[in-house]
């Protein structure tokens, strides 16, 4: 583990780093590929829509141009096939009109012959326009100046929209005009029928920006925008004279404008559709793609987060385990080195103690002789020598315990029946427990396998724990519960007393050699460290739980061998 002041900060940092890395590594390629596809699709779809609309408008433009040319051709044909004398006669004109109507329906509204002064000398049609004077009319001025002419849509004398197709012919050096009125409705339907989607519609404008057909929706094409088409026509000559551009138009939303010039650039056919409508399929697909990308990203982020959290949790757990293990290793090492030291000391002390005890015994021997029998301090001498003997024995016990702790005692493995052993020990302690008013309860699991261990060692451990418990409850009395049971591959011995408990500060040091809370001379502080050493040597563990006022529980776990099960 990196040295870090606060492990929480470290794990948070690690977690952030991992999440960020995973997200970046997985998101960036996804977004990159997705973005490229998105863009390519957008561009090609747009191109497709533009092509489609351009094609559509070109077709209609050709249609309308053909329509106008055809009508003009009809008039010219009429003018060239009949003489002016013929046409000046109303009856002939009416006959010709009927013929045209028979051919084309009500497209031709009327026919008229106009002289160079603008007077209509002959007329055939539903209105009373005989002798009508067009001398001042705009269309007349233009028509008289060219061999043929198609006017803008205007209201004229009759008061409703129409337009005029005229051809000029010369008789005896003076020009005449044969004119025909084209029914607006018939013409309008040519454009009106161009409808695509919900908002796609078409209309025709003249050079002044006036509507030549009736638009299906209101449009706010300004003069400037309209002028743009004409400017573009000059600057950027487009294929087939089709212009496509997007602009703000309609109600707030962007609109697509497709423009095409008709009538040699006099008229402009405009197809207008809201962009959102024109590209609705694209937008839908794009929306779906964005949504999927978003969900994907969300998936990646949440997966990365969840898995990283789990992983960090495991790492933290592993770190904690490692630290705990290190602590245990250090603890064990500490105990082992103290044990070695203790064993060395014990050995060294044994000899002087033995000599002292023997010398005291020698003095005792000598005191037996006659010359000392009468000594007045004989009793006192003997008492002092007994004391030396007693203390020598005590030294011996201490050194023996130290050496046990250093695990140099008899450690031959035998078959040990723990339940039997406990029962024996309980029986042994019954006198003492009765005296201290302690009740011993046993809950021993039947059919426990025998342990392969040193009988004396197991006995030492159990006796030590039991004696400690009894010592703890000596004054107040209480209960000692001893239980055995199988716990996976371990045999668990639980010893719980209802004594005064061990304060937390002492609990930490409880297995340390020479740590004791008993009064001087009563305990060596080696009992539990010996137990610890023995249990460790058997590959087991000994743990303690205690709370002041509630009692203390020791758990001893000793591994069972498979074969003995």
């Amino acid at each position: 583990m990196k040295p870090h002041s606060d492990p929480e900060t470290y794990y948070r940092h690690l977690s952030r780093l991992m999440i960020t890395t995973v997200i970046i590594v997985s998101l960036i390629p996804m977004l990159l590929v997705g973005g490229v596809i998105y863009y390519q699709f957008h561009v090609s779809y747009k191109e497709k829509v533009y092509d489609h609309l351009g094609e559509l408008i070109r077709k209609h433009k050709q249609n309308i141009d053909a329509f106008l040319k055809e009508k003009l051709a009809d008039i010219r044909f009429l003018a060239s096939t009949c003489g002016i004398e013929e046409l000046n006669r109303k009856a002939v004109l009416e006959e010709r009109l009927d013929g045209l109507r028979e051919e084309y329906g009500t497209i031709f509204e009327d026919l008229g012959v106009v002289n160079a002064q603008g007077r209509q000398v002959a007329y055939a049609g539903p209105f009373k326009l005989d002798d009508a004077d067009y001398g001042e009319a705009d269309w007349f001025k233009k028509a008289i100046g060219s061999s043929h002419f198609i006017s803008d849509v205007f209201m004229g004398l009759r008061g409703y929209p129409h337009f005029i197709v005229a051809t000029r012919y010369t008789v005896d050096g003076s020009p005449w005009l044969l004119r025909a009125t084209i029914n607006f409705t018939a013409f309008n339907s040519l454009v009106e029928n161009i409808r695509i989607g919900r908002t796609g519609f078409a209309y025709i404008l003249n050079r002044d920006g006036e509507f030549q057909t009736e638009p299906a929706f209101r449009t706010k094409l300004s003069r400037e925008e309209y002028a743009q088409f004409f400017i573009r026509k000059a600057s950027i000559p487009q294929q087939d004279g089709i212009h496509i551009h997007e602009e703000m138009g309609g109600r707030g939303g962007k609109s697509l404008f497709v423009g095409a010039f008709l009538k040699d650039g006099d008229w402009l056919m405009v197809y207008q559709q809201k962009t959102s409508d024109a590209f609705s399929d694209l937008h839908q697909a794009q929306g779906m793609a964005v949504l999927m990308a978003f969900l994907g990203a969300l998936g990646i982020v949440s997966t990365a987060t969840i898995y990283t959290r789990q992983m960090i949790g495991r790492i933290a757990q592993a770190d904690r385990d490692k630290e705990l293990m290190n602590k245990q290793v250090i603890e064990t090492g500490k105990l082992a080195s103290i044990g070695q030291l203790a064993a060395g000391i014990a050995h060294e002390i044994n000899n002087p103690v033995a000599i002292m005890v023997e010398e005291a015994g020698w003095i005792e021997d000598l005191l037996e002789e006659e010359e000392f029998k009468e000594g007045k301090n004989l009793d006192e001498f003997q008492r002092a020598l007994r004391q030396i003997n007693t203390q020598g024995r005590r030294c011996k016990e201490i050194t023996h315990k130290l050496l046990s702790f250093a695990r140099k005692t008899d450690s031959r493995a035998q078959e040990v029946n723990v339940n039997e052993l406990i029962q024996e020990l309980v029986d042994l302690s019954s006198q003492r427990s009765r005296y201290s008013n302690v009740t011993i309860n046993t809950r021993l699991a039947p059919n426990l396998p025998v342990l392969k261990a040193s009988q004396t060692e197991v006995q030492q451990v159990l006796l030590n724990l039991m004696n400690n418990a009894l010592d703890a409850m000596e004054k107040e009395g209480g209960t000692l519960d001893i239980a055995t049971r199988r716990e996976k591959e371990h045999l668990l011995i639980k010893m719980a007393d209802s004594g005064p408990g061990i304060p937390a500060a002492n609990l930490e040091r409880i297995f340390e050699p020479f740590f004791t809370t008993k009064s001087v001379g009563k305990g060596t502080g080696l009992g539990l460290s010996i137990c610890y050493g023995i249990v460790k040597k058997m590959g087991g563990e000994i743990t303690v739980e205690s709370a002041v006022g509630k009692g203390t529980t020791f758990d001893v776990r000793i591994p069972m061998e498979e074969a003995s099960a």
């Binding site: 064993a343 014990a346 050995h347 044994n350 000899n351 103690v353 033995a354 000599i355 005890v357 023997e358 010398e359 015994g361 020698w362 021997d365 020598g392 011996k396 050194t399 023996h400 050496l403 046990s404 250093a406 140099k408 005692t409 008899d410």
Partner: protein, 138 residues
């Protein structure tokens, strides 16, 4: 001290147990020899393996008491040499507490018994007498 009627009253040199004590802790050997003599055991002191072997060459003994841990020679080695020199000699070993493994080796090598140090004198005397009886039987 319990054995004093058995050993203490023996005055004649013939029946006294001849014991060779070997330990490099001279003070221990001294006091032990004094106390054992008082209990009628004819104790001879030696303070090293070589000295003990030399002594055994000059003299016969019934029982030998060997310290297993000595500076010049391993007690087990001395034991083996003793047994070679006098197969009838019974050997008792004194070991430090916790050195039972070594004591077991000694018994395998032909020692009669072992004691841990420090030990009760009465127990020591008891074992010496037992060893002596075993030798007599042999």
């Amino acid at each position: 001290m319990t054995s004093s009627p058995d050993g203490g009253e023996q005055k004649t040199g013939k029946d006294r147990i001849r014991l060779l004590i070997m330990d490099d802790e001279t003070a221990y050997v001294d006091v032990l020899a004094n106390r054992l003599r008082k209990r009628g055991i004819d104790a001879t002191k030696s303070f090293s393996g070589t000295e003990a072997i030399q002594t055994l060459r000059k003299q016969d003994f019934d029982v030998a008491l060997l310290d297993l841990k000595m500076e010049d020679m391993d007690g087990i080695e001395v034991l083996k040499i003793f047994k070679k020199m006098d197969p009838n000699l019974e050997v008792l070993m004194i070991t430090g507490h916790g050195s039972e493994e070594a004591a077991k080796q000694g018994i395998e090598a032909g020692a009669f018994d072992y004691l841990t140090k420090p030990c009760e004198l009465s127990l020591l005397v008891e074992k010496i007498v037992k060893a002596h009886k075993a030798r007599k039987r042999a």
